[in-house]
Assembly symmetry: C2
């Protein structure tokens, strides 16, 4: 029996990713976003929703570029810190001992220590209400060699991403391998 | 050392959710979407990207409504089947022995057997390229009572959602609890 919970932003899984931007002075900033995901295959695009009140929002509008840095589960405290502190008050890279690396294809920084990063140039800006959704074309994905499988693809079990639970405000790691996509359902 | 992988749609975690719609004759259909997520807190909104070639795309445009049904990991074969078969060829509900339930607030069906469902009415349609992004206002979330915690919130560890790995086309379950959000980073 299903129980109605009302009109809430609850879904599983939701990511916890660091969005990287430069401010007007070229100072790198990162903030955590969970209202984000892949949104198109051709051109390859990511969607990231940010509140206008954040400094990252202004940076992204001005520079028309952002990165996504995907943490591994041992970086869960870092991704949480990046979400609770404002770049207006603190240099989050310095606070956490993380290294801002200049993206190769876009005018934005990423976190060198996170295992997978995505470089995006702004394509669309959609005002939704409290959040503005920024859609960026993926210009490149970069990954640490140690998380790649023998075909050169990032292996989720080596990336070990952080999964956010928006209802009870929890973080989880990645669990057991369940099977091969576009394959295990065919037996049905 | 990071290795460049090119402009690919690779990110972790990505969901595997079933998008429910009615066709012109009122026949329920579901298809699997991974290019989807929460995109605004107020109004609460979900974004779902579908290819125009799918029957769900036409259904959604016509009915201006959709649902998201979130599977548990024991339903991984079902969510994969829903992604590899077209609703034009097969009645996926009948094939899988799943029950289409009429949503309470919108003109769309959901999967009764999946533990968490979200009812959405179409707000925005954004043409991105191969995919059209549909943004829907969340009208209600419904969850099985057995997945709720003592505060009445869905507990990720009881929902046990399916996580899709787009690079190597894998499915994973949810792993270990890592800590409390907006909290564990404060010690940094």
């Amino acid at each position: 029996m299903k129980k109605s919970l009302g009109a809430k932003t609850i879904a599983f899984p939701v990511p916890a990713w660091a969005i990287g931007t430069y401010d007007a002075d070229g100072k790198p900033n990162v903030m955590t976003a969970a209202w984000t995901g892949i949104c198109c295959s051709r051109p390859p695009c990511m969607a990231v929703s940010l509140r206008e009140a954040t400094s990252s929002h202004g940076n992204l509008v001005a520079r028309k570029a952002f990165t996504i840095s995907i943490p591994s589960e041992e970086q869960v405290s870092e991704i949480d810190y990046i979400g609770v502190v404002s770049g207006r008050d603190r240099d989050k890279f310095a606070d956490l001992g993380l290294t801002p690396a200049r993206a190769e294809h876009v005018d934005a920084p990423y976190i060198e220590e996170f295992p997978v990063i995505i470089e995006c140039r702004l394509l669309h800006t959609i005002e939704l209400g409290l959040h503005t959704q920024f859609i960026g074309e993926i210009m490149d994905v970069k990954a640490e060699e140690e998380v790649l499988d023998d075909k050169g693809q990032p292996d989720p079990a080596r990336v070990r991403p952080v999964i956010f639970g928006p209802g009870d405000r929890s973080y989880y790691g990645l669990g057991a391998y369940l099977g091969r996509a576009f394959s295990i359902g065919r037996k049905k």
